[in-house]
Amino acid sequence: MQLEVLISKFQEKDEKAFEELYHMYGHSMHGVIYNIVRDHDVAEEILQDVFVKAWNNADGYSAEKGRFFTWLINIARNAAIDKTRSKAFKNSKKNLNAAYFVDILEHSDSLDRQTDAIGIKKFVSQLAKQCIDVIELLYFKGFTQKEASETLDMPIGTVKTNIRKCIQQLRIIVLK
């Protein structure tokens, strides 16, 4: 089914469409959330909330504003970040800022079950430091281009060309 059709069905509260979208993006959202909270159970909890929230606020999405995936990942990141700000979470977890998504990829056995596992592992191992940083900030943390530029202390133009190069590499490996 075409993504646009699927999304509009989802917006009409079609449970089948919702389920399909979950299968398309569930793992991705979970990866983003897990990268932020680094707790499996908590991540699953947040993932549930994210999809429930998406269902309830489905009307709030419009294609003009951006990709559905982008809309969804935004909800996921915000929910995960909110969680890390909660007092209970702060008390149980130490500073997570130093941890990057690559740690997960490099040390995870779970990649073995995925068809792209070998490719992604290879990608990660080859990934330049600047790619790791820029992917982490833009996709996993949801920084704006300006925020990323300031954090990485490089011009927006450089952020753009870097992310272009990094995603190009990724595409060659995972999409072929």
């Binding site: 569930g26 979970h30 699953e44 951006g66 982008t70 996993f140 992310i163 990724l170 995972v174």
Partner: protein
């Protein structure tokens, strides 16, 4: 517009990341609709990023989707409940109805109670009425008695009336009686309180006597001796009597007095006559 340069700029990667401003997003969206290459490029970037981010997920419980679906159903049923709650406004009228019924019940009970009270009062009233009529009878009796007593008193005080004691005779010495003789009206009033009740089958008979020669004349029998309260009897006496006597006679009376049964006798004094 140089589409290739636009694609190479990296703006589409930022677009998928959500790192662009609202206006830039709109611009990309428009260009995607106009240029298939741009649209294709975005889809590929997105697919790659989905795979990358998914790779960061250790694993997801396969049951998670069911948990989520369950929550959705829960939520929608909650919303239904809310929708139903709105319609609960109506039952307010039911409350009115309920309180109406309750009030009706209370009133019905009240009415029954009042009816009961009314019956009680009515029976009390009839009790009082009975008592009242009893009292009235008593008053009437008392009035009659009083009138009788007054009449007697008048008789006793009347200067024309001769008062004559009849003393007990022989074995009836304890008996006594009194005669008040109204010579003008030819009546005697006989007070027989001092006589015992006559035995069954016997009555007292009153005699007027002439002494010289001894001639008794019956004045009558006292038939209702036992039932009369004040034991005063009025008898007609047209004789020029010298004395009065009372004997006990068989029922119906006798022609002549039975002298053995003479209870009392009194002689009219010469001076009085």
């Amino acid at each position: 517009m140089d589409i290739t340069a636009y694609i190479q700029s990296g703006v589409l990667e930022l677009y998928v990341a959500g790192a662009l401003s609202e206006n830039e997003n709109k611009e990309v969206y428009e260009l995607m609709r106009q240029h298939q290459e741009i649209c294709q490029e975005v889809l590929e970037i997105e697919a790659a990023v989905v795979k990358l981010t998914a790779a960061a997920s250790p694993r997801i419980s396969s049951s998670l989707i069911y948990l989520i679906m369950h929550k959705l159903i829960d939520n929608s049923s909650k919303q239904n409940t809310k929708a139903k709650l709105v319609s609960i406004v109506k039952p307010k009228y039911n409350w009115l109805a309920y309180s109406g019924w309750a009030a009706a019940l209370v009133i019905a009970i009240g009415l029954l109670w009042t009816l009961n009270q009314n019956n009680e009062f009515e029976s009390k009233i009839s009790e009082f009425e009975t008592e009242n009529s009893d009292l009235e009878v008593q008053i009437a009796n008392s009035k009659t008695n009083l009138a009788t007593a007054k009449n007697l008193l008048n008789i006793l005080r009347d200067k024309d009336i001769i008062s004559l004691p009849l003393s007990g005779q022989g074995e009836f010495a304890n008996s006594y009686a009194k005669v008040y003789w109204d010579k003008k009206e030819n009546y005697i009033y006989l007070d027989v309180q001092g006589l015992p009740d006559p035995p069954a089958g016997k009555v007292y008979q009153v005699w007027s006597l002439k002494l010289n020669p001894l001639t008794p004349t019956s004045l009558g029998i006292i038939g209702d001796f036992n039932t009369d309260n004040n034991k005063i009897f009025t008898l007609v006496n047209t004789n020029d009597s010298d004395a009065f006597g009372i004997t006990l006679e068989p029922e119906g009376g006798s022609e002549t007095p039975t002298m053995e049964q003479l209870y009392t006798l009194g002689v009219v004094e010469a001076t009085r006559s």
